[in-house]
Amino acid sequence: MARKTIFIDFSKCIECRACEVACEREHDGRSFISVFEWQEMAAMALNCRHCEKAPCVEVCPTNALYRDEDGAVLLAPQKCIGCLMCGIVCPFGIPELDLINKIMMKCDLCAHRRAEGKLPACVETCPTDALFYGDFNEIIRERRKKFTEKAIELAKTAERIKLTGV
C-alpha cells in the first residue's frame, strides 16, 4: 500500500502561517499544524507525521485510532474515551484534547478533501512549497531524477565550455 503523508522542507518555510489558517478553516476553528520559530530566525511547521509504526495507534486501548486506505492515522470520536495515552506516546505530542468533549483530536490529512480528490489544505496553500504531500518512495525517486538531470546539465555545460575553448 502506497502510504502518503505530508513532508516538510524546513529550509523553505517563511513562517507565514498560511497552513495554520487553512487548517483552522477546514477544521472548525482548530489548527492541527503549528509553526514554530527557533532562535528568532528559523521556522518550522509541525503536524502529525502519520508514522509508519505509529505509537498512538498501538497504544490506543479502544482502537479509536486507525488507518484509512491512504494510510492516514485517523481518530474515530465515538470510540475515544479521552484517556490521553496517544498524546503521551506520540514523540511530537500531536494528539490534543478537546476540552469540551473530552476526546482527542488530530490531523486527519484532510479526509474530507482527499475524498474529493484534493490535497490537504495546508499543502495546497503553502506559498513556498515547504509542505508537500506524497509517498516517500515516489518523492525519493523524483529527487534522484532531479539530481541526475542537474548533473547531466552540468556535464553538458562543461562540454560546451571545453569545445569553445573558454
Binding site: 513562517e15 507565514c16 498560511a18 495554520e20 489558517v21 478553516r25 528568532e40 495546497e124 496553500t125 506559498p127
Partner: protein, 711 residues
C-alpha cells in the same frame, strides 16, 4: 439552497491571487483554491494567511448597512439612500459653485478600477483636479522615478521574469512577509541557481534566503546604490552595448558616483566594503537580473532619487527590455496599480495623460462634455495643509483610512476636525469615520464585481460571490447616483448613467490607450487576465515593457545621477538617540480594518512589538515584553518591546498597522510628495503597563464603536 463556487481576486495585497468563494444562497461558507486556472499570478492556487481567511471580515458584526448622518462627532442617525445622495450632491455642488478647489477626493486602491475611474471623473467634471489616493503614501516615488527614466511608472516585467532571473536584488522590502505568494517566484529562481541579494536594516524572513545580505541603516539607500554603481563602472562590469545604444546620461552618472567608494559607503551605511563589492559583482555579471523594492525604499524624502538610481543600476547592467530582467516595485494593496492607471491622481487623466497637456485636456473635454481644469491638483498631504489654511473645506473619502495610514497622524486628526464636510464611503467603521458628516455603506470587494490591476499590470475580472449586507451598495453604484444627482445626466461618457461595471469599463477602454483592448468580455473569458499595455481587442497583452524602445520622448533610458548623499531629514541626536523605522506583519494588513476583524489572524498577530537590539535594550534596562513608550517630535506611542538581534544597533522597528504613524515624519519628497514614513529620530522610555493603557486611550480607536442615535 444553491451552492456556488465563484472565481474572485483576493481582496488583500497587490499580488492579485485568484481563489473561489463557496457560497450558499448568497452567503459565504468557504473557499477553494484556484488550482485549475492556468497562468494566474498565484500558481497552483497558493494563498497566504490573509487570502486563506477572506471570509471572516465579510461577516463582521459591525458592517455598515445603512447610510448615516452625523448629529455630532461620532454620533449618527440612519437616513435613506435618497436623502444621503441628495445631501452629498447638494453640498458638492455648493462648494463647486464657489471654488471647486475647496473639494478633495480620495480614490481607493482597495476597490475596483471602475469606481476609481468614476471618482476622478466626478472630481474633474466638478472642476477640480484635487483627487489622490494612498499610492501617494507608498509608491508615488516609483511612479515619478520610473517615469522619468523609462517613460512609464509601472513594473517593467512580470512574476515570470522574477522566476527566470539569475540574480534578484531585493531592497527595502521584506518580500517573504509582505507578499508570501510573490516570494514563491524568488524561491523558484533560487532553486534554479539564481543569487539573491537583500538590503534591509532588519534581518528579515527574506534576508534568511539571501546569498548576500547588506544590513544598511534606514535611509542610507542613496549611498548604498551609488556604491554598487561605482563598483560596476570602476570594474567595467556594465553592459557597454546597451548603454551606448539605448541610454543617455551615462557620463554624468560616472562623474556623480565618483566619490562613492566602497570605503565611503561603508562609513555611511554600516555595510562592510567587501560585501558591497561582492554584491555589485554578483549583480552585474549574472546576465539576467531583477530589482524589487517597496516602501522601505520609497517612503523617504529622497524616495524618487532612490527609485531613479535603481532604474539606472538596472539599465547600465542591460537588465531592461528582456525576459528574466526588469524592475519590480511590489504594490501593497490589491488595486494600487489600477487606481493610478484610472487617474485617481492630481496630475493626470486616465492612462497617465497629463492634465497640463492642452491636447489631452481637449480630448477629455469633448469626451466628458465639460470644461476641465488644467492645473495640477493637490496630493493627500498637500490637501491636509491646504485644509488647515481653510482653502480645502470638504473631503470625499472612498475606502481609505488616513487617520492610521498617513504619516504624522496627529496632524491628520487635527485637519479632519477642521473640515466643514466629510463623506466617508466604506464597509466597516474606521477611526476616520468618526469625523464624517455622511457615511455611505459600501459593498465589500467580494460582494460586487469589476476589474482590478495587480502589481505586474495584470488586469483581472473579479465576480460577485455573495450579497452585500443590508443596504450596502457597490462603489460604482454610489458614485454614479451622486454624479447624476449633481446634474451630470448626459448620455454615454457625458454623464453618470451606468447600469453595470461593464458599462464603465467600456468607457475606460475608449479613453485609456493602455486599456483599449481590455474589454469586459475578454476579461470574463480569460480568468488569468491581460497585462497592459493592450492597445487593441486582438492584442495578447504585454509581458515585458521596453523591448525595442523606452517610452521617453526620444525612446532612450535617461540615466540619472545623484551626486549628493542625502540621509533622512531627521537624524538621531542627543535628545532622540534612536532611528525609528516601520514594518509589517504577514498576517495583518495595513490599517487592520479587515484583519483585526478576522479571528484567525487576530489571534496569531494580536499586537505590535517594537524590535530593539539587545545591547540597546540592556542600556535602557528593557527586557523582552516590557512596556515602553516611543517618543518623537510628533507624538508618543506605547508598545511592548521585543529584544532581538534582527535589528541593527541604534534602530527601533515598529509595525505601523496599529497606528504608529502618530510618530512618523511627514517631511515630503519634493517630487513625488511622499512623506518620510520610514525613518525618523526617536527616544525610548520604559513605562508601566498602567501608563501604557493611559497613553493608549488617547490614541484613535482602531475598531471604533459608531454610536447610532435616534433622529
Amino acid at each position: 439552497m444553491s451552492e456556488r463556487l465563484v472565481p474572485v481576486v483576493c481582496p488583500y495585497c497587490g499580488v492579485g491571487c485568484r481563489l473561489y468563494i463557496r457560497s450558499v444562497d448568497g452567503y459565504p461558507v468557504g473557499i477553494e483554491y484556484a488550482k485549475d486556472i492556468p497562468g494566474i499570478a498565484n500558481e497552483l492556487g497558493k494563498l497566504c494567511p490573509k487570502g486563506n481567511a477572506v471570509i471572516e471580515y465579510l461577516l463582521a458584526k459591525d458592517r455598515l448597512k445603512k447610510p448615516l448622518k452625523a448629529k455630532e462627532q461620532g454620533k449618527f442617525v440612519e437616513i435613506s439612500w435618497s436623502e444621503a445622495i441628495r445631501e452629498v450632491a447638494e453640498r458638492l455642488k455648493d462648494y463647486a459653485k464657489d471654488d471647486p478647489n475647496q473639494l478633495m477626493f480620495f480614490g481607493s486602491a482597495r476597490t475596483f478600477n471602475e469606481p476609481n475611474y468614476l471618482i476622478q471623473k466626478l472630481a474633474r467634471m466638478l472642476g477640480t483636479n484635487n483627487v489622490d489616493h494612498c499610492a501617494r503614501l507608498c509608491h508615488a516615488p516609483t511612479v515619478t522615478g520610473l517615469k522619468a527614466i523609462f517613460g512609464a511608472g509601472a513594473m517593467t516585467n512580470t512574476y515570470k521574469d522574477i522566476e527566470e532571473a539569475n540574480v534578484i536584488f531585493i531592497i527595502g522590502h521584506n518580500y517573504a512577509e509582505t507578499h508570501p505568494v510573490g516570494f514563491r517566484y524568488v524561491l523558484k529562481a533560487k532553486e534554479r541557481g539564481a543569487k539573491i541579494i537583500v538590503a534591509d536594516p532588519r534581518f528579515t524572513r527574506t534576508a534568511w534566503f539571501a546569498d548576500i545580505f547588506l544590513q544598511h541603516y534606514p535611509g542610507t539607500d542613496i549611498a548604498l546604490i551609488n556604491g554598487l554603481i561605482h563598483i560596476i563602472i570602476k570594474e567595467r562590469l556594465y553592459d557597454e552595448k546597451f548603454v551606448r545604444e539605448r541610454c543617455v546620461g551615462f557620463d554624468e552618472v560616472v562623474k556623480a558616483v565618483e566619490k562613492f567608494t566602497p570605503e565611503f559607503v561603508e562609513k555611511v551605511t554600516g555595510v562592510p566594503a567587501e560585501l558591497i563589492i561582492q554584491a555589485a559583482r554578483t549583480f552585474a555579471t549574472a546576465g539576467k537580473g531583477v530589482i524589487t523594492w517597496a516602501m522601505g525604499l520609497t517612503q523617504h524624502t529622497h524616495g524618487t532619487e532612490n527609485v531613479k538610481l535603481l532604474g539606472t543600476l538596472s539599465a547600465i547592467c542591460g537588465y531592461q527590455g528582456k525576459e528574466g530582467c526588469g524592475c519590480s516595485p511590489m504594490r501593497g494593496q490589491n488595486n494600487v496599480q489600477g487606481a493610478c492607471d484610472m487617474a485617481a491622481l492630481p496630475n493626470v487623466f486616465p492612462g497617465y495623460q497629463a492634465v497640463t497637456d492642452p491636447e489631452k485636456r481637449k480630448f477629455f473635454e469633448e469626451f466628458w462634455g465639460v470644461e476641465l481644469n488644467g492645473e495640477v491638483g493637490l496630493t493627500t498631504i498637500e490637501a491636509a495643509y491646504a485644509a488647515e489654511k481653510g482653502k480645502v473645506k470638504a473631503y470625499y473619502i472612498m475606502g481609505e483610512n488616513p487617520v492610521i495610514s498617513e504619516a504624522n497622524a496627529n496632524h491628520v486628526v487635527h485637519v479632519l476636525q477642521k473640515l466643514e464636510f466629510i463623506v466617508v464611503q466604506d464597509i466597516v467603521p474606521t477611526p476616520t469615520m468618526e469625523f464624517a458628516d455622511i457615511v455611505l455603506p459600501a459593498a465589500a470587494m467580494l460582494e460586487n464585481e469589476g476589474s482590478l490591476t495587480n502589481t505586474e499590470r495584470r488586469v483581472q475580472w473579479s465576480f460577485q460571490a455573495i450579497n452585500p449586507p443590508g443596504e450596502a451598495r457597490p462603489d460604482w453604484w454610489i458614485l454614479s447616483e451622486i454624479g447624476k444627482a449633481v446634474g451630470f445626466d448626459g448620455q454615454g461618457p457625458k454623464g453618470f448613467d451606468y447600469t453595470s461595471p461593464e458599462d464603465i469599463l467600456r468607457e475606460i477602454n475608449a479613453c485609456t490607450p493602455q486599456y483599449r483592448g481590455i474589454t469586459p468580455e475578454r476579461l470574463k473569458e480569460n480568468l488569468a487576465g491581460i497585462h497592459w499595455p493592450c492597445p487593441s481587442p486582438d492584442h495578447p497583452g504585454t509581458r515585458v515593457l521596453y523591448k525595442d524602445k523606452f517610452l521617453t520622448p526620444d525612446g532612450k533610458a535617461h540615466l540619472v545621477a545623484v551626486s549628493e548623499y542625502k540621509g533622512p531629514v531627521e537624524l538621531p541626536d542627543e535628545e532622540y538617540p534612536f532611528l525609528l523605522t516601520t514594518m509589517r506583519y504577514v498576517g495583518q494588513y495595513h490599517t487592520v480594518t479587515m484583519t483585526m476583524r478576522t479571528q484567525a489572524l487576530r489571534k496569531r498577530w494580536p499586537e505590535p512589538l517594537a524590535e530593539i537590539h539587545p545591547e540597546d535594550a540592556a542600556k535602557l534596562g528593557i527586557k523582552d515584553g516590557d512596556w515602553v513608550k516611543i517618543v518623537t517630535r510628533r507624538g508618543e506611542y506605547p508598545i511592548k518591546a521585543k529584544v532581538t538581534r534582527t535589528v541593527k544597533k541604534g534602530v527601533i522597528a515598529v509595525p505601523w498597522h496599529w497606528g504608529a504613524n502618530v510618530l512618523t515624519n511627514d517631511a515630503l519628497d519634493p517630487i513625488a510628495k511622499i512623506p518620510e514614513t520610514k525613518a525618523c529620530a526617536c527616544k525610548v522610555i520604559k513605562i508601566t503597563e498602567e501608563d501604557a493603557r493611559k497613553l493608549m486611550d488617547k490614541l484613535p480607536q482602531l475598531i471604533p464603536k459608531i454610536e447610532i442615535v435616534r433622529g
